[in-house]
Amino acid sequence: MAAKKTSKTNVSKDDLLHYYREMLLIRRFEEKAGQLYGMGLIGGFCHLYIGQEAVVVGLEAAAEEGDKRVTSYRDHGHMLACGMEANGVMAELTGRSGGYSKGKGGSMHMFSKEKHFYGGHGIVGAQVPIGAGLAFADKYLGNGRVTFAYFGDGAANQGQVYETFNMAALWDLPVVFVIENNQYAMGTSQQRSTSSAEIYERGRAFGIPGEAIDGMDVLAVKAAGETAVAHCRSGKGPYILEIKTYRYRGHSMSDPAKYRTREEVQKIREEKDAIEHVRDLLLTSKHCSEEDLKAIDKDIKAVVNESAEFAKQSPEPALDELWTDIYAQAEA
């Protein structure tokens, strides 16, 4: 982990509370998803975001309305952070008609045109050129929007990432490449899979500026996000943020995570946890009492429990949905 965490700050109470709520929502949501998976209500692959919450929450705080985002299959946190409803996300996880994709996409494939969330992509690295393409469209249309293209340290070794860096730099595309470095590409540590220690430095070969950020510090992420967004929005082309983070759970629900020690995970949870960090800030700055935070925890739990209930009660898609949405009909 890089820099020391922000301890004193001039961030407002409202902002801190907002980050706290958002991160806590993601964590509780993911814990619930893990539980529903264990009950057999969620099937297939399910990749939890627990531990990485500060990344999306910090960057969403730097985004403006209309900015776009696209990510990999570890996408639940991104959806909640950009304002998609917990009910719709959870119901998609259970494959029900109330899900964002009517139950036809699943954990890895969800979208929201309304919230400018362009997936949810199951193929490692594929979202990187897609993100640059969204930025290409924005530049073409001249609408001043910026796209966040999230990918992991594992995807950072995909060839298409560098094809995309090249074109994004060549064409000055307004895209922030967000490398969520959680240090393990499934079960392979960065040391064993990646030739360079600082992945963001790879942008230098293409003339793309970048920096490494402590991803367990939501304020640091937000500040870096603001720098990156300002760079992109001013027409200077892409920017790389390598956000050093950590995933507490396995790669997916079926991963026993034997490639790292329990102690390693425990140490980070105890010393680095992003939610605890903001909680400390709220308490030490006397913005909140323990009681206030408990009330928030209760609210969040209620939202998550409601989403689980919704996801159980929402009917399975009608059988004729099998045959819909394969082709779009031309507008008359």
Partner: protein, 457 residues
């Protein structure tokens, strides 16, 4: 010793060209490497260099002459001191090649015992009084793209060499001038990356036309075509999809070997979420490409390098479109149905001519669109003719013909008087050697053999 300088082949598919300009005159001394002439192919104007030293004895072909066949003599090179009369008179092989349009039907087969039947050519379905113009397939594709770009600002073209170079196959010639570099975009040679960017641009509200220099290179982009473009509408529950066209030459060109000669029609036709178009004629190429660009789905548009230079009559209408998913009946007939698409139509039509000479009336169907596939037109035809042969250039296993054959078995079993025969390319990687390449491709003779077999003749 006088040497004949021959018209050179300057591309894999060049059969003739225009001798645009002589850069030497009779009596000039030349040494190897000197530029002798400018030769125009259908793709580019190329300089032609001397290989041998000598003096230009005679220019056999005047500059400006079109349709000069490859390998015909265009000049005589003499040794120094040698005169033209010393040299043996070169054979007069310099006559222009017959144009493609003037190809004569093959002679009637001797096996024919019946009187020839008249060929029933089906006319265009256009308003009475519509005039036609002759366009090559290349020009038709360019017109389609340009017309759509004029009428819709969100349509743009991207691909390798589409802008400054004017197109590797000159499809996009002149388009950079008209539309500018914002809308006609040269990409680096990174198919995987730019296909992904184009899919993202389509998600973001644009209508990209992506040119692959050939569909062989689209293999690098396959993940984005299938996983990103074709499946997103479904995976998003109908919220967003990829309205875009992937186009470029597909199938064998000539003598370019296994990695550059493959027909991907069946591959793409396999994928729900894609539409797949493979035109034969220029009028269909134009009308179908315009429809493909307007279609709100990802469309694979498979062209053919050998057909680019061929001319067809195209309706001269301000907005000529052809709907996707409708087969075209080129000839009406009663005795056998020939089903093909793309360059396979050339063999199907040639075979139909030969069959007519034998007294057999063949119905010829051009599928044009492989997904959605207009099986109804084929089934209805076979209910009338009771026999069917399919023709395509692709590999035999899981071919379009296999699928047609299966549909006919299920939907017209009682009407079939013979098994359906699928004529395809051979089940081998494309060889380079000229004789083997010829063997690997489907031929009109093979179509005739298949047709006679299902006719029990």
């Amino acid at each position: 010793m006088a040497i004949e300088i021959l018209m050179p082949a300057l591309s894999p598919t060049m059969e003739e060209g225009t001798l645009a300009k002589w850069l030497v005159a009779e009596g000039d001394k030349v040494s190897s490497g000197d530029i002798l002439a400018e030769i125009e192919t259908d793709k580019a104007t190329m300089e032609f260099e001397a290989v041998d030293e000598g003096v230009i004895g005679k220019l056999l072909i005047a500059e400006g002459t079109a349709n000069v066949a490859v390998n015909s003599a265009i000049a005589v090179l003499l040794d120094e001191g040698e005169s033209l009369s010393d040299a043996a008179s070169p054979a007069q092989t310099a006559a222009p090649a017959a144009s493609a349009a003037a190809q004569t039907p093959a002679a009637p087969t001797s096996a024919s015992a019946q009187a020839p039947v008249a060929v029933q050519v089906v006319e265009h379905d256009v308003p009475a009084g519509t005039s036609f113009k002759s366009l090559t397939v290349r020009e038709a594709i360019r017109e389609a793209m340009s017309e759509e770009m004029r009428s819709d600002e969100t349509v743009y073209l991207m691909g390798e060499e589409v802008a400054e170079y004017q197109g590797a196959y000159k499809i996009s010639q002149g388009m950079l001038d008209e539309f500018g570099s914002k809308r006609v975009i040269d990409t680096p040679i990174t198919e995987h990356g730019f296909a992904g960017i184009a899919v993202g641009a389509a998600f973001g509200g644009l209508k990209p036309v992506v040119e692959f220099m050939t569909f062989n290179f689209a293999m690098q982009a396959m993940d984005h075509i299938i996983n990103s473009a074709a499946k997103t509408l479904y995976m998003s529950g109908g919220q967003m999809g990829a309205p875009m066209v992937f186009r470029g030459p597909n199938g064998a060109a000539a003598r370019v070997g296994a990695q550059h000669s493959q027909d991907y029609a069946a591959w793409y036709a396999h994928i729900p979420g894609l539409k797949v178009v493979m035109p034969y004629s220029a009028d269909d190429a134009k009308g179908l490409l315009k429809s493909a660009i307007r279609d709100p789905n990802p469309v694979i548009f498979l062209e053919n390098e050998i057909l680019y230079g061929q001319s067809f009559q195209v309706p001269d209408l301000p907005d000529y479109t052809v709907p996707l998913g409708k087969a075209r009946i080129w000839r009406e007939g009663n005795d056998i149905t020939l089903v093909s698409f793309g360059i396979g139509m050339k063999y199907a039509l040639e075979a139909a001519d030969q069959l007519a000479e034998m007294g057999v009336s063949a119905e010829v169907i051009d599928l044009r669109c492989l997904r959605p596939l207009d099986t109804a037109t084929v089934v209805n035809s076979v209910k009338k003719t009771n026999r069917c042969v399919t023709i395509e250039e692709g590999f035999p296993v899981c071919s379009i013909g296999s699928h047609i054959s299966s549909v006919l078995m299920q939907e017209a079993f009682d009407y079939l008087d013979a098994p359906v025969i699928t004529c395809t390319g051979k089940d081998v990687p494309m060889p380079y050697a000229a004789n083997l390449e010829k063997l690997a491709l489907v031929t009109t003779d093979e179509v005739m053999t298949a047709a006679k077999s299902v006719l029990y003749r």
